[in-house]
């Protein structure tokens, strides 16, 4: 009952994030549309975008309270729960910061990020699983929620920094700066394309068991949730059927790719790469062949660059202490209680430290060495990549004490 209602509210939040993203993007792209009353349509769109964003945040908040009640612990213990909670903190941070700074165009960047992270969460299994002994502690609630809140606020710092760069870079000139900005947009589209592809096949409950032809061990069998374009080493082309006339697998992975489920991981990469190329190509065609950065940068024209710079820095200055408290101090106390050592250089805690050190560098460079403007903004943009690696990369690439967070089949 509670879980059903909770899923419904998460769904409402997803719809809300989507709708507010669309409203904000139309709001900032269609600023020339005039209303009959004479006012700018843009204000109306972004006003509604903000209202919907608030509804999405409220809905997800109630949804996660219900899931908390049903499960008896904060819903932050699986990849689905954690990623959706992070999305919640991003949207919450946006709603609060916008209330204070009144920067509606921030929504055109923050909401799509929140939406994509929530959609990414939905790729993972959504069952509420009871906790293993190590996680049965009230520190789970305190540590993970505080850390996620810090990460949410830092993400707003990233969005504002990106806006600053788009605002200050002359995108009609091709130089290193515009190429890197185009790359940032492409990488965001990559994440977006992966999420869409994975969700398309998830909705169809796509699953295919593939066994490793070179291994007798039944444990080497893998379950693909995306059609196996890349099969295990030694598999025969076309042996797994076909998709729209393409034989599956299209090719076996080369023998030097080893490691647990290498074929599965590589297949996911191939799909992500292909779908992001397709998505990017389509958007570029719509854009008349011009690089996307030329259009996206027009969303932020007319904004005060210094204010964006200040906004990005403020968000990082607010998020940094929360992150330090949640991801390091609370983590240390819990680690001491659960593992008998407040610090054991487990990959997750090492990366939390790396993230902290990274933003420490940002602050020292900005406050002591006068790195304001573009340099500082680029650091804030890269900071988002560091956080992404901390939250996703570590789980998928490195295995540690936190490895319970590795979802099956990834």
């Amino acid at each position: 009952m509670l879980l059903g209602a909770s899923s419904l509210l998460y769904g409402v939040a997803f719809g809300g994030d989507l709708l507010s993203s669309i409203l904000y993007i139309i709001g900032v792209t269609g600023r020339n549309i005039k209303l009959r009353s004479g006012g700018s349509a843009a204000n109306l769109w972004t006003k509604w975008g903000y209202t919907i964003a608030i509804i999405a945040v409220a809905s997800q908040f109630i949804g996660l309270l219900l899931r908390w009640t049903a499960g008896g612990h904060a819903p932050v213990s699986s990849m689905f729960e954690y990623m959706s909670f992070w999305s919640f903190t991003i949207m919450l941070a946006f709603v609060l910061i916008n209330a204070f700074y009144r920067s509606p165009r921030l929504g055109a960047f923050a909401c799509p990020v929140g939406l994509t992270i929530l959609a990414y969460a939905m790729v993972f299994p959504q069952e509420a699983q009871p906790l293993i002994p190590a996680l049965q502690s009230y520190w789970l609630n305190i540590h993970v929620t505080t850390a996620a809140l810090g990460e949410g606020v830092l993400t707003i710092g990233f969005a504002a920094a990106l806006m600053y760069l788009l605002n200050t870079t002359d995108t009609s000139v091709k130089n290193r700066s515009t190429r890197f900005l185009e790359l940032v947009i492409f990488l965001f589209l990559t994440l977006f394309a992966y999420v869409v592809t994975a969700l398309v096949f998830k909705v169809q409950h796509y699953a295919i068991d593939v066994s490793d032809p070179l291994s007798q061990n039944p444990a080497s069998q893998m379950t693909y949730h995306l059609p196996p374009l890349a099969g295990p080493t030694g598999s025969v082309v076309g042996s797994l059927g076909s998709l729209l006339g393409i034989p599956l697998p299209l090719f076996p992975i080369p023998g030097w790719m080893q490691g647990a489920q290498a074929a599965l991981k590589f297949n996911t990469l191939v799909w992500t790469f292909l779908s992001s190329i397709v998505l990017y190509g389509i958007l570029r065609l719509i854009n008349g062949g011009k690089s996307l950065v030329t259009s996206v940068s027009s969303w932020v024209q007319g904004l005060d660059a210094d204010e964006l710079d200040e906004l990005s820095y403020r968000a990082i200055a607010i998020g940094y202490p929360i992150f330090a408290l949640g991801a390091l101090v609370f983590a240390m106390i819990w680690a001491q209680e659960a593992w008998g050592s407040y610090w054991s250089w487990d990959p997750k805690e090492t990366w939390a430290l790396i993230t902290f050190l990274y933003y420490t560098l940002y602050l020292h460079l900005r406050l002591s060495r006068g790195w304001e403007g573009p340099k500082s903004a680029w650091l804030a943009v890269i900071g988002f990549v560091v956080i992404l690696f901390l939250l996703v990369g570590v789980n998928l690439v490195i295995v540690g004490l936190h490895s319970y967070a590795v979802p099956p089949g990834m």
Binding site: A324, L325, A338, W345
Partner: protein, 476 residues
């Protein structure tokens, strides 16, 4: 004379001081520590490899790179000499940097002037003025109003003649140094491990019913009962060990130890860290002769951790030909043992005695009663368990760390420092009424937007709607 002083080459301590006092050095050191940590998280560390011989493992697994990694200490990154050296260097940097800046900062904040000339106020980060040209403006009255409003907003106000100086949140300027002191305390807390007797960590295994002396302590721990529950999908749900602390022969404490709820006694902390599968401890068994209408031949006690070579049962003699504590069949149906722990014991007896002419070899597999029943069909003697002692074994992490309170104290100070640094703003406003014009110049260390809002509110509360102008990069 002066020329000489300038040209004198710097002594080594002076050079070191200059090196460590620089923020640039701090930035490089932080970057190096972060970079090494990234490497350490990507390269499998020595504790996490499936081998006890890292010197052989790394070259075998990664070739030349493996050799280099091992030689440079990248395979035990966080205990490598140069990583420790980096941590020590950043600590020295924190001390020197803070010392060099803290005192001048304190002095300059003490010496802030109350009277600032009007032409200087115009260059403050926020500036506005009220002039007497406007007939409705009684600038002296406005000055009083603003001072009173600032006072209500907890500004400390100093006045001198027609000038005033309002200030709040001065402590924010000291925030970074509070953070640095906290960080140094954390480092000091970690370093206490080097003091003999301050730190110990180890693991002990305690079978149910067993009492084990806790290493580096004056007490023993008895495992009264170990309890494990799993979820239906096989994931662990609950681990608990009922433990008794025995000190000087007295039972002084009974306590359940679960994950996340360790036992603390005499400075030692015992954590529930592992639960080993159930193993066979001992067994009383009867031997019956199936050819003599299941007549009982006799009984014996077997200790699976230390079986005898020969058992005498009634008139018969049982010789243990082979013992597999953790029995399994491998290729070609060859029996072997997976481990040396009696999880799944199996024995082969040679039985000799009255009426036995040719050797009898019989299997005894107590953990597999169905297999035993099957075997009994072709075996003359049968083994019937009378009493079985099974035991679960708890793995305890034993830890003593007197540095923990220092580390936690350091953490608390760091968090306090972060809050002071980032959530409190040092805001200053100077006012000077000269030649009938009231000049107001404000300065803050961050969040100009918030400061401007506050000043605008101060004016608004006195029905003034003058706007403050923001001078980018205003001077203090």
């Amino acid at each position: 004379m002066q020329q000489q002083v300038v040209e004198r080459s710097l002594s080594i301590p002076e050079r070191l001081w200059l090196f460590f006092v620089s923020v640039k050095t701090a930035i490089v050191l932080i970057a190096l520590i972060a970079g090494s940590s990234i490497l350490g998280s990507l390269i499998p560390q020595e504790g996490a490899i499936p081998s006890q011989q890292p010197a052989q493992f790394y070259p075998a697994a990664y070739g030349t790179y493996g050799k280099i990694m091992y030689a440079l200490g990248l395979t035990h990154m966080y205990t490598s000499t140069w990583f420790i050296a980096l941590l020590l260097a950043i600590s020295v940097n924190l001390i020197v940097c803070s010392w060099e800046r803290l005192v001048p900062l304190y002095k300059s904040l003490q010496k802030q002037p109350t009277v600032v000339q009007a032409f200087l106020l115009k260059h403050r980060g926020l500036y506005t003025s009220f002039s007497a040209d406007n007939p409705s403006a009684d600038t002296a009255h406005i000055r009083e109003q603003i001072i009173s409003s600032l006072g209500k907003r907890r500004y400390r106000i100093k006045q001198e003649g027609q000038a005033f100086f309002a200030e709040k949140g001065r402590i924010a300027r000291f925030g970074p140094y509070i953070i640095h002191i906290g960080l140094l305390l954390i480092v000091a807390g970690c370093l206490t491990r080097l003091i003999p007797g301050f730190y110990y960590t180890g693991d002990i295994l305690v079978d149910e019913g067993q009492t084990v002396q806790v290493p580096h302590s004056d007490f023993s721990i008895r495992n009264d009962q170990a309890h494990e529950e799993d979820y239906t999908d096989g994931r662990p749900k609950f681990y608990q060990t009922q433990a008794t602390v025995i000190y000087k022969g007295q039972q002084v404490l009974h306590k359940p130890i679960t994950v996340n709820h360790p036992l603390k006694y005499h400075g030692m902390i015992l954590f529930q860290s592992a639960m080993l599968p159930v193993q066979f401890q001992g067994m009383d068994l009867s031997i019956v002769d199936q050819q003599a209408n299941n007549a009982k031949v006799g009984s014996l006690h077997m200790d699976f951790n230390d079986p005898q070579q020969v058992y005498h049962v009634g008139a018969y003699q049982l010789t243990v030909l082979n013992y597999f504590p953790d029995f399994q069949f491998v290729q070609n149906n060859q029996p072997s043992s997976k481990s040396s722990t009696p999880y799944n014991p199996a024995l082969i007896f040679k039985i000799e005695g009255p009426g036995i002419t040719s050797d009898i070899k019989e299997w005894f597999v107590p953990s597999a009663p169905f297999l035993q029943a099957e075997l009994a069909k072709s075996q003359r003697f049968n083994f019937q368990p009378d009493q079985v002692n099974l035991a679960q074994t708890t793995g305890f992490r034993v830890q003593k760390d007197f540095g923990i309170p220092i580390v936690y104290g350091g953490c608390a100070i760091v968090v306090l420092g972060l809050v002071i640094t980032f959530y409190i703003q040092h805001r200053t406003l100077w006012g000077n009424l000269s030649e009938g014009v009231l000049h107001l110049g404000g300065q803050t260390n961050k969040n100009w937007y918030g400061f401007q809002q506050e000043l605008q509110r101060v004016l608004a509360s006195n029905q003034l709607n003058q706007k403050f102008i923001r001078n980018k990069g205003g001077t203090a």
